[in-house]
């Protein structure tokens, strides 16, 4: 369990911002817990990343972890619990209508597909140049 307030003080996400200024990212993967964002909120997250870090999100990796959101808002603590892979599969299914993003779980087959998506994306960027 980590203290939410301490996390906020822990750089106000500035460390990630500073790092984003030091490199030019070609492909970005955001790892998300299974129960925090509705599928239609994922493009909004992409917009935030574009403006904040100058690196749009190419893929979302769904972690089989869930945040106790009620506890987080009530007590200020973020508690992560591990959930069954059925939840991540169901969430991935719900995201199937989203276009422009690769959605994957943390399993072996999905990660092979993630690599393929990355190679396709980078190759097409090179061709455009």
């Amino acid at each position: 369990m980590s203290n939410f307030a301490e996390e906020v003080l822990d750089g106000y996400t500035l460390d990630a911002y500073t790092l984003s200024q030091a490199v030019s990212v070609d492909y970005f993967i955001l790892s998300i817990p299974v129960n925090v964002l509705a599928p239609d909120q994922l493009p909004e997250m992409d917009t935030q990343y574009k403006y904040k870090y100058n690196c749009p999100i190419d893929a979302f990796a769904i972690s089989n972890s869930a945040v106790d959101t009620i506890l987080a808002f009530d007590s200020g603590y973020v508690e992560i619990t591990t959930v069954s892979n059925d939840y991540t599969s169901a969430y991935k299914e719900k995201c199937s209508d989203l276009e422009g993003y690769f959605i994957c779980e943390f399993n072996e087959n999905d990660q092979e597909a993630l690599i393929t998506d990355f190679i396709d994306k980078v190759s097409s960027d090179v061709e455009e140049l």
Binding site: T13, V25, D26, I29, F106
Partner: protein
């Protein structure tokens, strides 16, 4: 080289999996954890999990001391395990941060006994002249919450890309990265460098330095802490 790793926690499992499934000269035969933590270790770990450190020493020639989130609370225990390992003639790879005195002492014992003591990558201040763009392709991995661990994703992506024939190097946030021949972002840059523009220059220089040393096709970069 047969190794044991201490202290084992769920956070270190992706690294154990990576090492044991790759052609690394290291092979982890046993993961040792304090008795109190045994029930919390996940079942899908690819080696035996034991609690008797002393008995495990007989089955290895190298001891890996890995970094652990709550390492400060067991610092004295870590020091005693390092000393015990050296006393029994075992090489030590240490990813945990040690105090200068303890580090000097451990290195001294290792030199005296002609053993290998490998310590985590260190970073020192030096002059940085200019910002340079990397030539390698960069994959960034971020996390919505710092509590969502991306180490497994990080290790798997590096492994898959290497299998596909791309020379890949990882730069992550975990000190245990050195076990899989990757680098960890120096915390010192974030904590000790005061000016933001200097931090950017130092980070850029660190990444360019890794690029120069390893000449990778792809760099997998794990973003620190939470991003949003």
């Amino acid at each position: 080289m047969n190794c044991i790793i201490y202290p084992c926690s769920n956070d270190v499992i992706p690294f154990i999996d990576y090492i044991n499934s790759s052609e690394s000269e290291l092979q982890i035969v046993k993961a040792v954890c304090p008795i109190i933590c045994r029930s919390m270790i996940a079942d899908d770990i690819c080696c035996d999990v034991v609690t008797d450190f002393r008995a495990s020493l007989d089955e290895c020639d190298t001891v890996i001391i890995c970094d652990y989130k709550r390492i400060r609370s067991m610092y004295n225990d870590i020091i005693s395990k390092i000393n015990l390992s050296l006393e029994f003639g075992k090489n030590v790879i240490c990813c945990a941060e040690l105090k200068d005195d303890d580090l000097k002492k451990a290195k001294g014992i290792a030199d005296e006994k002609k053993l290998k003591f490998e310590y985590r990558q260190q970073w020192d201040y030096h002059e940085v002249k200019c910002y340079e763009k990397q030539e390698s392709v960069i994959i960034g991995i971020g996390s919505l919450f710092s509590a969502v661990n991306t180490d497994k994703l990080f290790c798997n992506i590096i492994k898959k890309l290497n299998e596909c024939g791309y020379k890949t190097v990882g730069i992550g946030t975990n000190s245990n990265n050195m076990l899989i021949d990757c680098y960890s972002l120096p915390d010192k840059i974030f904590t000790s460098v005061k000016r933001s523009d200097e931090k950017v220059l130092y980070l850029n220089d660190f990444i360019n330095d890794v690029e120069l040393r390893k000449c990778p096709d792809i760099i997998v970069l794990q973003f620190p802490r939470r991003n949003v």
